[in-house]
Point group: C2
Chain length 387, copies 2
């Protein structure tokens, strides 16, 4: 049986490294992050695991064939749980289960790239490519990682049979439903385009309404048309967002001549991502043809969905049903995780704990201690069935 | 009879001072503007008028009781006609009509304030208040005007019986209709509010659509609701504009938590401005209540409409009918002009020439030479009837 009190004490000890009020700041390879990685390697050794820091800064606690982990770096204004939950839960499970190894990947939060440590390990990115990545101040990954010398090579992925990543949900679904556990079906795919609508910039006093070609009106018509076009295609787990808008000239007395905005959509199914894209493009074409606006749509940025392994999902469902009866659900992950990369190497599964109010990437991020203990129990049960 | 060729030659000579390709840059009190003001004072003297530069930088050609004029300063990327048309047309009419005086007001385009020279002359603004106004580089009106010493005091308004201001339309109405002359009914009033919609900033991947409070959706719903609410209230000359938008955090992967935008509306009737304001406020309240968004509306900025003098309008209509039969109309001015200030002192009227494509405040601004000559003929005819 895992020791929930010890697990929570370890989480609190890690929270103290880089603490800012209720939150934490540990950017990949900053002083607090390096401190935390050395502290973690010591905990792995204390637990009887082979502690190893690899050249990418990933921290390993090696023993069994079931790999459990996540990341311990944070956003610039990070929460205390985010990836830390999965790593410390893995540590506690490994203490009682010799079939388990643990990993804390580096730079999941993208100071330099995005999920950089697991990308390197999974072969998506070479270490040489990663070394050239820079943070917003121009520091390279290569220069930054020199502050944390490797104690060993990257482990051969073939030594592991499967990967489990516990994580906070970072959304409001479980909390709103009063549920304790989410078994992840897939990490959703993401697509994004940048749209430019071109009208005619004019004097807002002298240009009659019927002679205007107003790019802001084009944007609001596009928003409505996209909503209408997507409604029949989507599931409750599909999302789309117009998050960035730039108007030109953006002056109170000028009819907007140009609107540039992003449209981003996410879904767990490639076919639905395709259907959403076709509907969004058709809606934009309809709106701009009707309004006499110019339309440019950028090339589509696409991250494919990553399905979680059906066998691991079944084990996690059974464990959730045992420890949180009627308080769990299957659900997609709307956010990206290290499991996306690890799934290229081996079967991968994910487990969610609720985020209070859906808040994450914020000092206010939190999860009830009872729910953290349930997450640990479900993970330990699943690990026991898999080892 | 005015000499159209001499009038066009004078316009071309003034265009050469501060020329940039097809456009002109003469910001109030810059080198080109001062050059142009001295050139203009010389032209007034040559025409037998008493040339005078007043302490605000307004240039006067004094003789008769009918005042004709406009301004000769330009926008940062100005057109060649804008205010220059009215001043040079006044000069040409004054050459043949001793009942006419001419004025070129200063800083109509608002390097320091807005219609600064005519505001000072009309008593809306004191010279001491104006002296404290600064341009975007921090230069004061007071320091700038030292470069153009006054040659006399401000003329007593009581020496004039009426004011006529010819101007380009700066909008597309006459050009679109193939018409040559607009007789202005009123300079429209303007009202403006800044609206802040507050929703909930969230992760664009993990927040389901039904749990979002998206401020960008609030903006597009507000735009649609305002359109629907205003449609039954307005005339074809009423306008409204959402010209400035700022989203927060304005990131592709964040559900917008806040949208701040301006709503500006213009009409020639105070009652209609009131009705439009009530409809806009009600629409914003409906939309935000339905969407669960916070709503703040700033205090209303208001410039009242300025009716043109009925007697002057009648004279201008007759003159337009004589020189441009079936090619003139009565219309409001959607833009602000010096006549707004002068109308506080004496009866005021305005005459519009078409703007090709409705373009103004742009190097591409232009009017056909035939239409410029018609404007001159209508003005001369009206002046003859009034003196």
């Amino acid at each position: 049986m895992p020791d929930a009190a010890r697990f929570l004490a370890d989480l609190d000890a890690l929270r103290a490294i880089g603490a800012r009020g209720t939150g934490v700041v540990r950017r990949a390879f900053d002083e607090a992050d390096i401190h935390a990685r050395r502290w973690l390697a010591d905990r792995f050794a204390d637990a009887g695991l082979e502690a190893r820091i690899d050249p990418a800064g990933n921290v390993w606690g090696l023993r069994g064939r079931l790999l459990i982990g996540s990341h311990i770096d944070t956003q610039p204004e990070g929460g205390w749980l985010d990836g830390a939950l999965g790593v410390i839960a893995g540590l506690e499970v490994a203490r009682g289960n010799p079939g388990v190894s643990v990993v804390a990947f580096q730079d999941e939060e993208g100071r330099f790239g995005a999920t950089t440590g697991s990308e390197i390990w999974s072969g998506t990115l070479t270490l040489a490519e990663a070394d050239a990545l820079t943070d917003l101040d121009g520091l390279t990954f290569g220069a930054a990682r020199a502050a944390l010398p490797a104690t060993g090579a990257m482990p051969d992925p073939s030594r592991f049979s499967a990967y489990l990543e516990p994580h906070i949900e970072q959304g409001p679904v479980l909390d709103a439903a009063g549920e304790a556990v989410g078994v992840v079906t897939a990490i959703v795919g993401l697509r994004q385009v940048t749209v430019t609508l071109t009208g005619a910039q004019n004097h807002a006093g002298t240009t009659p309404m019927h002679l205007r070609r107003d790019a802001l009106r084009g944007l609001s018509d596009a928003d409505h048309a996209i909503r209408a076009a997507l409604a029949p295609l989507v599931t409750p787990a599909s999302v789309w967002t117009i998050g960035h808008v730039a108007l030109h000239p953006n002056a109170p007395s000028a009819v907007p001549g140009r609107a540039r905005f992003t449209v981003q959509w996410r879904d767990a199914e490639t076919a639905r991502l395709d259907a959403m894209e076709a509907a969004i493009r058709a809606a934009l074409e309809d709106v701009t043809r009707t309004a006499g606006l110019g339309l440019e749509i950028s090339a589509t940025t696409a991250l494919p969905p990553t399905a979680m392994d059906p066998g691991l999902r079944a084990v996690l469902r059974d464990a959730a049903a045992a420890h949180a009866p009627d308080r769990w659900r299957e659900m997609p992950s709307g956010a990206l995780h290290d499991a996306t990369n690890v799934a290229r190497l081996m079967p991968a599964g994910m487990l969610f704990a609720p985020s209070i109010g859906g808040i994450s990437h914020d000092f206010a991020e939190d999860t009830g201690r009872d729910d953290l203990a349930i997450c640990l129990a479900v993970l330990a049960e699943a690990a026991a069935r898999l080892t």
